[in-house]
Symmetry: C2
């Protein structure tokens, strides 16, 4: 089927999903999880074909992301059951107003309709995204990377069997057949057919969406996360936080990339930082962190001289840019210019400084005395997540089930009409 | 100043506004209201120049929208004070989570930063939009139509005096000097300088934003609103609702444009509708409604034959497209295809039919037994509004102060780091 045909077919799932009860959706998720495991052999065969085709062409990290095993399939099935266990985000009355004229106005959470997700080579995204979309009452149209297509297709075929067994249309979950740029562009401009597009991928994909998308889109962006060590910081705490933020998992978006240190404590702090991130790690046979130092930091400890681009790079590796700032406000300004507005932290014992940092740093998550690594739906206690939004409209930070819904105003009356002076007031419609 | 220079200058207002207390913002709104009235002569002089230049070139309706008087200025000042009286939308803790590790996570409403509004020839939008933006803690960059520029500029100069008197930067409110398409396009693509763009205008402007905007944008769309008269409707109520929805103010976006009638009641209902909308109005010397009838309706009452475009037109006039449908689901389908997702209503005494209509009609406001004319921030009891959103992300329906804010997660810890098994969980960053 063409991309357009798949999008048209997905429309037919809107109404059954909008009318589905919580139990029906949860039964469908259970049936999908069962069908996924039942199709293990087909899925693993398809995955071996993907791996054979990819070997030699992509890095070992990519091959590992692509590889499925019985254990990973079991984890995927468990993930779907975890979503089933979450409260239904649809039908929540977010705000209820009873007007003097008797109108009852209920701002009610409702499904988006059709959610499309563009992703790359992790086959497990297929079942995660499908489960979240179904629970949120929306059909999902998935578009994976070429390397993973056979695997994702086998997974979608299994999920569809589960859907049909549960009495929901199989068009509630679809996979785009075309893996060229053309299909991604078609999804970005499928006005009226895609209610929400979530690109999950590298900078190139996100930029293409910003530039070309005419459908509603949520950017799950890159993370250039900062930790600022204030002059009133507990320096031991600052070292522990930075070590965690930088090294516990350097390849993810909530890892720290930049450390800023207040001038007053730089001479004491930077040698402590170097000891923890370089010397102690070498002694423990762990990968040391390469410190890229601005001029003021380089005058205190040895390390690589930072180029200006080092303060605008998502390294996703054991590399940390380190700069010295003259004041709290200088740190805030630096972060304003260089942050991707994902997660930024201050370490300080000064509550006034913390409050100013929190008000002035314009990021999805702003931390006081904690590691940036906590920005995550699970760590926030929000349940599963579809990604982490770095934009300001609709969803910011971890996107859970609530953020995959929209709302409508449902108004019940008994014949009310707008009258008298009220009828003459201008409604500013445009 | 160029558009770019104005946008850069607006950035300097972000931090003072983000740090401003509720009292400071309310004092600024009061000072702005006082300054507006104090500058009446300058504003009315500028307005006369605008009117002189526009006369003969634009319609009388447009001239009326453009014209200012002492009374209208007093209304504008009152509007600003009304905004001051509303609760502060900034700093609300929307959700508070205390994690087992002691992290306190507060999802907190915060200002957008810089809000830009593109509008046309109503000078009162200048003070309305400025007041809402300031109360929401954001700077606003206004871009009015050419016909109104002198008036809007005089208003902005007055508002800036008030801002400065209250100790806030005058760059918190700016007016773009260039009124050509170039400046609108520049605002649509001012990535990093505009946090939210609200186009308020006709179809052309909205389409240009959808196609070209790379900054976050909320469409305040057109309204092709439907009233469906179910077979279980109280027909007298249906007539009253339609008369109100169509004729109480035909030029606004929440006015009805299409009436759908269930076949079973069409023969009884359509003559009642014609009597109320045509004959009774002529007798009362009110403008009659032109009924544009599909084939089935035309077989029952006389009227103009509807062309297919009549079911996709925002008439904004005393014209109503009338169609007969075979079932509730046919009405839902028709609305799905033709509605602009603004406001749609069912008239029925059947609760099951009402529930199905409400679930399946995908519009910002869905009414049961009431007029579509109520879709309005004031009528919903939400206070003032910046417009009515017809999109699904972020804001849907009337956009009040809450919808002009975003949120961030503010996390307070005492040195927490992410550890153990948690550190190994994949955060799906893209």
């Amino acid at each position: 089927m063409t991309t357009h045909e798949i999008l048209l077919a997905a429309q037919s799932a809107r109404q059954p999903l909008a009318l589905a009860s919580t139990d029906q959706k949860n039964e469908a998720l259970e049936a999908m999880a069962v069908a996924l495991v039942a199709a293990s052999e087909e899925i693993l065969t398809a995955n071996r074909q993907d791996l054979d085709a990819a070997r030699g062409k992509v890095s070992d990290v990519m091959l590992d992301r692509l590889a499925l095993t019985h254990n990973r399939l079991a984890d995927m099935a468990k993930g779907m059951r975890d979503v089933a266990a979450l409260p239904d985000p649809v039908g929540q009355i977010l705000h209820r107003i009873v007007r003097p004229n008797g109108l009852v106005i209920e701002k009610t959470s409702v499904p988006m309709g059709v959610i499309s997700i563009i992703y790359e080579s992790r086959p497990n995204v297929t079942s995660d995204a499908a489960a979240l979309a179904i629970k949120a009452g929306s059909a999902c149209v998935l578009r994976c990377g070429r390397d993973a297509w056979r695997s994702c297709n086998a997974i979608v075929q299994a999920l569809r069997k589960g859907l049909v067994q549960a009495g929901l249309p199989e068009t509630a979950v679809s996979l785009i057949e075309d893996t060229s740029h053309a299909s991604a562009n078609e999804l970005m401009t499928a006005d009226g057919l895609v209610d929400l597009l979530i690109p999950r991928g590298g900078k190139g994909l996100i930029s293409a969406c910003v530039a070309n998308a005419t459908v509603p889109c949520i950017q799950t962006g890159t993370g250039i996360c900062h930790v600022y060590v204030d002059k009133a910081a507990d320096l031991e705490m600052a070292v522990r936080i930075i070590e965690n933020a930088k090294t516990s998992r350097p390849s993810v978006c909530n890892a720290e990339e930049v450390c800023l240190v207040h001038r007053d404590v730089a001479k004491t702090f930077l040698p402590m930082l170097k000891k923890a991130l370089v010397e102690d790690r070498i002694a423990a046979e762990l990968p040391p962190v390469e410190l890229r130092l601005d001029e003021a930091a380089a005058a205190i400890i040895p390390g690589t001289a930072a180029g200006p681009e080092d303060f605008d790079t998502e390294f996703l590796n054991y590399i940390l840019a380190v700069g010295v700032v003259d004041s709290l406000d200088a740190a805030i300004q630096h972060i304003g210019r260089h942050s991707t507005h994902h997660s930024d932290a201050i370490v300080t014992a000064d509550e006034t400084a913390a409050a100013r940092f929190v008000s002035c740093v314009d990021s999805a998550a702003v931390y006081v005395n904690a590691s940036t690594r906590f920005t995550d739906g699970g760590e926030f206690g929000l349940g599963c997540e579809m990604g982490i939004s770095t934009q300001k409209l609709h969803a910011r930070g971890p996107m859970g089930l609530a953020e995959l819904c929209t709302y409508k105003y449902i108004i019940h009356g008994n014949g009310q009409i707008r009258g008298g002076a009220a009828a003459k007031l201008q409604t500013p419609c445009g």
